[in-house]
Amino acid sequence: MPDLVLSEFAGVSLPDWIDALIRIVFVVALMTVNALALIYLERKVLARFHQRVGPTRTGPFGMLQSAADAVKLLTKEDVRPASADRWVFELAPYFAFVPIFLVFIPIPWTETWVVRDLELGFLFVFGVLGLNLVGVVMAGWGSDNKYALLGAVRAAAQAISYELPMLLVSVAVVMVVSARLLVDNGSTLGAVDLNVIALEQTTTPFIILQPLGFAIFMIGMLAELHRPPFDMPIAESEVVGGYFVEYSGIRWSFFFLAEYTALLLLVMIASVVFLGGWNFPFGEDVGLGLQLVLTLAKAGALIFILFWSRAMLPRLRIDQLMSFSWKVLLPFSILQVLANAIILTYDGDEWIVGVTSLALLVLLSALVYVRAKMLARGAERSIHKQPARPRLITAQDVTSGD
């Protein structure tokens, strides 16, 4: 059982449940601070991308904007559609929010700061994240609103479709870790443990060994979070807000909180699994404080990339994003797993794994680029094709035709 930092300072060891309680309180506090900070940061960063300033009036540099938003949400009236199924409507926000909060349990912030170092941490993450979708579907249906239902079904379909390539790519990373553990320890125990995955990246983070995995994981992350360019299910101009359109005030803030918490969660997982978490580049040599700084710096970089993609990319249509996942990402992730399996079974060196993955990533980008060019050329051609011009009939034609 990793020691709590309190017990290290005070030299006292606490009973299990107090230890767990304190860690959970830390995680809850972190989640709240994170939501408030990200709301403000997103608006500021997006504003700078759009060459404007963002919130400036509430507090110095607009920093109290999140607090103002929170006050507004808390004081709104709690409205419920009269024909909505009461149980389903009211339980849906909790179903959407609680699984995300639960997944913070196995994530390591530093070498010893983890709520519980679960042996099956990585599997736990994906398993419990799937329960989020039940909340989304309940919200859409319980609202008794066609647009909410449409948004909910689209959101669920999109999340399931992009979960698959993410899972397969995670399996590929776990294969690399298991191969190493088999060589070091003789058994693959701990290959799914997030802390062990972070520990294995002392010299090379897995983004170098599995660049395709990182790319697919990032794309899948955007889709799981319903963020642009995959935000069709919750887009205002498409489905009038999507599955949470009938929610207001505190209930809506649960969904909102769930979205930003899931953002931090998936970014932390990506940084632990692919960027080395607290470990790379010099994590094991420095103390816990600097490891925390490393973790937060990596998470911050990935969060910035997510905000950047929101500012930069247009929205994909629902059929475009579904076909992208099933026809492009899934075959490539299966190929990645296959390549890893073949190379690792025949005891290939690890740089072969990295090179293969990079080749697959280049192939994927080339495929997407060629297809995009084809589509653009087709669209251009149809734009430049002259429509049948209306013929101008003069008075002479009319009289001479008689």
């Binding site: 149980w87 339980l91 099956l120 736990f124 398993g127 799937g130 979708l133 039940v134 249906w141």
Partner: protein, 167 residues
Amino acid sequence: MSATEVVFYIISFVMVAGGLGVVLSRNIVHSALALIMSLGAVAGIYVILTVEFLALAQLVVYGGAVIMLMLFALMLTRARERPQALFGKNRPVALAVAGGLLTAFVAGILGTEWAQSNRDEIEPVPFEEIGDVLFSVWAVPFEVVSVVLVIAMAGAILLSQPDEGER
């Protein structure tokens, strides 16, 4: 009664309550939610029996997929507009059959002398050995199950094709 036993009884109470919700609820969507509760409690029982891997597989498959399938099917078959009746003709017969089965089971269970190990000596099940066994001793059923899944996918796609002349 150790803490594990108390937790086991709480979880089995939730499970049975969920089961009763499935079969007794007037609103079919409430039945689906009760099923989630019940299957989640089954995952909890697996955790108590120290097979966490199976608990997570149960959560992923049932919680993430089967429940969503059922909710979609309920949506597509307009279940909200047709409330279920509680008093069917079958009810006395069903009660008799279910009650009879339960009595027979309980009598059999409590009457047998189980040759199992002492319950205080149970060691946690090591999941990497489950993986070993799954891919060596049970490799053929594993492959057969993957074929079953492909067939189920193909069947589901075929079943959802529009009829001739529809649309």
